[in-house]
């Protein structure tokens, strides 16, 4: 514990530009024939963002649709890379961008737990330790040994969320998934997040359900058209945000 810096995520001067093709050249023929003719439009999603999120903080990213929140999360998980700037991460990071990524429909729930957890970088023995906990949390009961394709979408989501939330990462990135399952399960997820927060994990949430954000997070960052509009206490930021939006 000799580290001087205490950041979990550090975003330095990050700019992300997407090239929008009107007609994306995917084949060799198109690349050659439409060489240089292709109309592209450069779309700056994030413009020179600077952020520092300390360890143990619970931060919400808010903003209107298309403001670049999800892109920022994707950059943090290293799914995509910034056009300019740099992102530093300190600690094991898990992202819940979309639930059930990589579930194989023919495998049973239990097998998929192993597969899905291994995508998050867990070893077999680590998964063994957690598997009962995961099954319990998902409330799937005997269905856990049936193929995932027989699940209802709610069951599917519950299983996926249970795996992801029990991975035990130091940093959690969550994109709009507080709306999983029924009322009962949502509350359970919320309580679990609260519990993770209390145990000192760093959590970054993208959400539109401002009420839960207010309860869960102490800090909120408002992103507007790719720029950091406001950063501060969640109550304060959300108030301002609602004022502008309505």
């Amino acid at each position: 514990m000799k580290k001087k810096e205490n950041y979990a995520i550090k975003v330095c001067n990050v700019t992300k530009v997407f090239k929008l093709y009107y007609d994306k050249p995917n084949t060799l023929k198109e690349r050659i024939v439409f060489w240089k003719k292709n109309k592209t439009e450069v779309h700056k999603v994030l413009d020179n963002i600077n952020l520092e999120i300390d360890k143990g903080e619970t931060v919400a990213l808010i903003g209107t649709n298309g403001s670049g929140k999800s892109t920022l999360l994707k950059l943090m998980t290293k799914i995509i890379y910034p056009t300019e700037g740099e992102i530093k991460i300190d600690g094991k990071l898990t992202s819940l961008l979309e639930l059930g990524a990589g579930f194989h429909p023919d495998f049973t729930g239990r097998e998929n737990i192993y597969f899905n957890a291994s995508i998050f970088g867990l070893t077999a023995s680590e998964i063994d330790k957690r598997v009962t906990q995961i099954i319990e949390f998902s409330e799937l009961g005997d269905f856990i040994d049936s193929p995932v394709r027989t699940y209802s979408s709610g069951m599917y989501m519950r299983l996926a969320f249970s795996v992801a939330i029990n991975v035990d990462a130091e940093i959690l990135l969550i994109d709009e998934i507080l709306a999983v399952g029924d009322q009962h399960f949502q509350e359970k997820c919320f309580n679990k997040l609260q519990e993770l927060k209390d145990s000192g994990k760093t959590i970054v949430i993208v959400s539109h359900s401002l009420e839960s954000v207010k309860k869960l997070c102490n800090r909120a960052i408002w992103i507007n058209k790719g720029k950091k509009e406001m950063d501060g206490k969640s109550n304060h930021v959300i108030e301002k945000y609602l004022e502008v939006c309505s």
């Binding site: 084949t27 060799l28 799914i79 992202s95 990524a101 023919d106 291994s118 998050f120 077999a124």
Partner: protein, 259 residues
């Protein structure tokens, strides 16, 4: 490089379950299941063994065993190259949603193919026993040959899988090249047929020809494999693997956006 190995080590469980998924998931739901990966090349062999003695004037004695030793490594090669080329595209779903070392995907294709090939070797052994050829101590070279093939394939699919994301034609071009290469590789015929001909140098350029020749030497003719050419291929494969990894690393940053 060190970072890559560390990264792969910490994600070893993913590699393991991915390999398992490749082997089991592919045939799940079919009646014969995993057996298909052996029945298929066997049936192909059978067709060749029936048809080709009519076309070629003088085939080797024990022609069916001769063909099996060529066909099974070749099947390993083609399945890995074809599946490997499309693996990034097929897994677009998880690539766009989760971070994990992307190298895992092509590596697990090659490794699941390797495991299938190990079982295929048993089939070769059965043919060797049934035809009365048996075994010799030259079989100790087998791991070296298999290893060379593994490294060669890994190098190739690192490149093709990454390029196929950007240029989707790659898949079809490679199918064509592989079909052509099938005739340029001594699978149905013996490389000895061209020993004194002017195109023998052409065959020696084909790394798979050298590899299949070595399998034949060790298993069928029970003689010393041409160690020098094998080592040249091994060295070339290692260089290809290094270049392939560089290309893959470079192109992987754009995967999630291109898919």
């Amino acid at each position: 490089m060190k970072e890559l190995i560390n990264n792969l080590y910490s994600y070893r469980q993913l590699l393991k379950s991915n390999v398992k998924k490749e082997i089991r998931g592919k045939y799940k739901g079919s009646f014969l299941g995993v057996l298909w990966s052996f029945v298929n090349p066997l049936l192909t062999t059978l067709v060749y063994a029936i048809v080709f003695p009519f076309i070629l004037k003088n085939t080797e004695p024990n022609y069916i065993t001769f063909v099996v030793i060529g066909v099974l490594p070749w099947t390993y090669f083609t399945t890995v190259i074809m599946q490997g080329t499309t693996t990034i595209l097929i897994n677009a779903g998880i690539i766009k949603k989760v971070y994990f070392p992307r190298e895992i995907l092509p590596i697990s294709i090659n490794t699941s193919g390797l495991i299938n090939f190990f079982i295929s070797c048993l089939i070769i052994f059965i043919f060797l026993i049934c035809s009365g050829i048996g075994f010799s101590w030259y079989i100790i070279f087998l791991p070296l040959i298999i290893g060379t093939q593994y490294i060669l394939q890994q190098g190739i699919i690192f490149i093709t899988s990454a390029i196929n994301v950007y240029i989707r034609d790659a898949e079809y071009i490679i199918t064509f090249i592989i079909n052509m290469l099938f005739y340029a590789t001594p699978i149905l015929y013996s490389a000895k047929m061209f020993e004194n001909s002017s195109i023998s140098w052409l065959i020696s350029l084909n790394p798979m020809a050298t590899i299949i020749n070595c399998y034949r030497d060790v298993l069928f003719y029970q003689s010393m494999p041409h160690i020098k050419s094998l080592l040249v291929v091994l060295l070339g494969s290692c260089i290809l693997l290094y270049i392939g990894l560089k290309i893959f690393k470079r192109l992987e940053k754009g995967f999630a956006e291109e898919l």
